[in-house]
Amino acid sequence: MIILPKPVILSIDTGGTMSDTVLVSEDSDFVIGKAQTTPEFEAKGIINSLKDAAFKWNLSVEDAVKDLKIIIYTGTIMLNRILEYKGLSSIGIITTAGFEDTLKMGRSRQAWNTLSYGERLHAISHFHPKPLIPRNLIMGVRERVLVTGAEAIPLYEDEVKKSVETLINRGVTNIIIMFLNSWANPSHEIKAAEIALNTAKEMNKTINIFLSHKIAPILGELRRLNAVVIQVYAAEPSRKQFELMDQEFRKSGFKGSLYVYTNYGTLVSPSFERLIHTVKSGPSGGNSGVKYLADLYNLDYIVGADIGGTSFDVTTIVAKQPFIEPYTLVSKYEVAVPSVKVDSIGAGTGSFVRLDPTTKSLHIGPDSAGYRIGMSWPEGKVNNVTLNDVMLTLGYLNPDYFLGGSVKLHKDIAVNSIKEQIADELKIDVIDAAWEIYKMQTEEMKFYLESLIRGLGFSPELFSFVIYGGGGPSMVAAISQGLRFNKVMVPELAPAFSAYGASLSDLGIRLERSLESYIPPLPGVEPKGIAIDMMNGIAKLLNIKLSVEELESVRELLYTNSMELLKAAWSQLKDEIKEEFEKAGIKGEIAWKGGIRMQYAGMLDDIEVSTDTIDVTKEFLVNISNKFDSLFEKIYASSARSKEFGYVITRAILTGYMSMSKPFLKTFPEEGTEPSKTSYKGTREIYWDNKWVTAKIFEMGLLKPGNVIEGPSIIEAPAATFVVPPGFRTRLDNHRIFLLEEAKSSSLGGENK
């Protein structure tokens, strides 16, 4: 009797081009499925992708689903809702009088944040994003709380009542309340919510209220308001969509739980109040995968690059930790929620290739054919050459094995189109044109990668490089050539690496809140400048001269104050996280990881410092300040440190984790270097570096760990094509990850210790 694998985890990643699924079995075997994304009805693409995966294990969808413990969703449901302006309508805002135009005025960088460097230069290409809430549904109410939390103007309660009445009469059923500095003192928001509910009751209406300090208690009204608006506009309707998805799976016999992957690499239940934390789950999945490799291979520095159909996304792991940014860019909006740092350019396998008709210069992207592949797939109705067409022309892609042969490509159309649109215009040979396009695209990616790494203050030699996404393996050699990375890794599961990465996560909620807390220079450091001003504070105001002893006691007083503020912030965050887990019905031990954002007093940029203990004592304060000093030194320079000014804590961060059973990359026994006969599929002519060479073709799934493949070779898998050019060689290691090296400098033998 054949024992069929029993899938326990299903991880889904819907991108702009492909919907990927990874099924993981009880004993950590996995299989990946891929299908074209169906933007008009996402579930269809997901089910097709799941069918593709289940089929490889000879399972029906029902069989694949019935024993699943968890389903993990990552993808772009919410992002699409914003991009297409198809979110929840009937939202109104009540805000501090005088700030009604906050959304409309936005921030100048919102107009160019998402543009390429070239386009940023030209003001004519700057467009401000359209406010998601129309101006006539935004009401101002007089009140004012200062940044210290003190009330300067009381809440004009009758104005709240009138505004609510107006909004309800205009058809509003969801009211957002955002007052200035509500993160420091939320009492006005709470009071206004109470009045709004009462007013609605009097009018016999039911309304939902959303408070800015609940969604994002962060300094800065635009990012805070954007966070609440996107939460209500895009995330709340998604909650319902997740419920439907859950029901859909339950119909097929699913009995486990559905979780959504967050921007920062954890899983949350769809009932999570701040569901906006999952808005950018798509690109973050890869980061979890890269972090896993960092731990598995004991590498401190890794850069990961994802080449999909539409974009090239880069993410980094430094000192085994992901880079988490204090705000997120959602479409063009800046939003006060944390997310893993992912940098993107609009370059993928579906990128359009064009000649400027006037200057005859070559342009690739930033727009792309996405799931429509290119001209070589006539069903896609694309009328412009794409990078897929180029790679087909150069012999890298197999026209009969694209997506395992389910999509048939036509090489002749690709060649003719490149000839017609590019080569003839430039009066060059069609193959030369294709090679130059491929080279130009990979060079651009290489420069981008290098500039990001150097921008962090490192040199590429320090980093290992992981490439994934459907297009990654076909470009990895050209991109990494010459950058002298420590290791170049191509996981066998590259096409679904992001989805797989998501399945490696724990349940976890990360909450942040702003804080303004001054820590004087540490004991033994003589205060200078701003530190003396801060410590003299009241004395100066009252014109009293403090003695040295008195000044020291002020220093102690300020330490205590800082400790109290941080303690209070963390304990509040702790309660909120506990409450969230309870609400989702998740029981278990919560592991805590703290963090604060800190800067030297008087500086503008803060840095996140993480800590394993959240027990605030004076010793803790000294330790974390020291940790900040050394982190600052790594990022900037030791001479730029300003210990004598003291420190400011700007944000308290707390993550509560609950660990889950996770898959792991299995270790396989290594076999000989010679690939087996069954894996060998024949030869194909490929064009590399201005000449045709004969490449051996291998089937990726049939290669064994330990096998070494010399270039020129093509290693084919249904959803990816790994190009090993002449002068390169690759070895499949015991975790089924290909290590790519230039043959000259080879040390592939026993390097993977």
């Binding site: 386009e119 290409s125 467009f127 359209k130 064009r354 008709p357 006037t358 009328n383």
Partner: protein, 188 residues
């Protein structure tokens, strides 16, 4: 894509831009994508030619309402509504109805106090189509300043040297005839 398809696509884009129907994304695409020297001129001519109720061939548009057309073999300025202004080398403003605002009171009818010039230095001239009454242009200039000749193209050179085709009307000398015309018609 064939040239006809491309032409039709460009005409559609122009229509959306000129009729204020284009979204920010569409405008952004036009701004950032490569310029098309081959079909764009023909596209804008054929867009306007389909819009106007008369048959004379448009040689070049001056604005959404004014065009240089070939009337009985000579290039003249003609409005969309059908009014004919005369030889395109004479500033069409000379033939238009004009309303001049000279006093503070007249300025204030349109422009708030701190948002207009000093009437001692500036007058505002509004040029109006004699046939349909459409406001064609506004200029703010010192009193006595001649009407600004906004656009006098060397149209024959443009056709022959830039587009590389025969000028489809009478080849006229490139010259500003406005002063001559005024001299003939105003001086006794």
């Amino acid at each position: 894509m064939s040239t006809t398809d491309k032409l039709n696509e460009t005409i559609k884009i122009l229509e959306r831009l000129l009729e204020d129907k284009a979204t920010d994304e569409e405008i952004f695409k036009v701004i950032t994508s490569e310029k098309d020297p081959i079909t764009r001129f023909d596209a804008i001519i054929s867009y306007f030619q389909n819009k106007v109720p008369w048959k004379e061939k448009i040689l070049m548009p001056l604005s959404k309402h004014l065009f240089i057309v070939c009337k009985d073999g000579t290039p003249i300025v003609k409005a969309a509504c059908g009014y004919e202004f005369g030889d395109f080398r004479i500033n069409w403003k000379v033939f238009a109805n004009v309303r001049v605002r000279r006093t503070r009171k007249e300025f204030l009818e349109l422009y708030p106090y701190f948002m207009h010039g000093d009437p001692d230095w500036v007058e505002i001239r509004e040029y109006i189509c004699p046939k349909c009454g459409k406001l064609l242009a506004v200029e703010a200039v010192p009193p006595g300043y001649p009407p600004i000749f906004e656009y006098l193209p060397d149209i024959v050179t443009f056709y022959e040297k830039w587009l590389g085709r025969e000028f489809p009307c009478k080849k006229v000398e490139f010259k500003d005839l406005t002063n001559e015309y005024i001299k003939q018609h105003i001086n006794p």
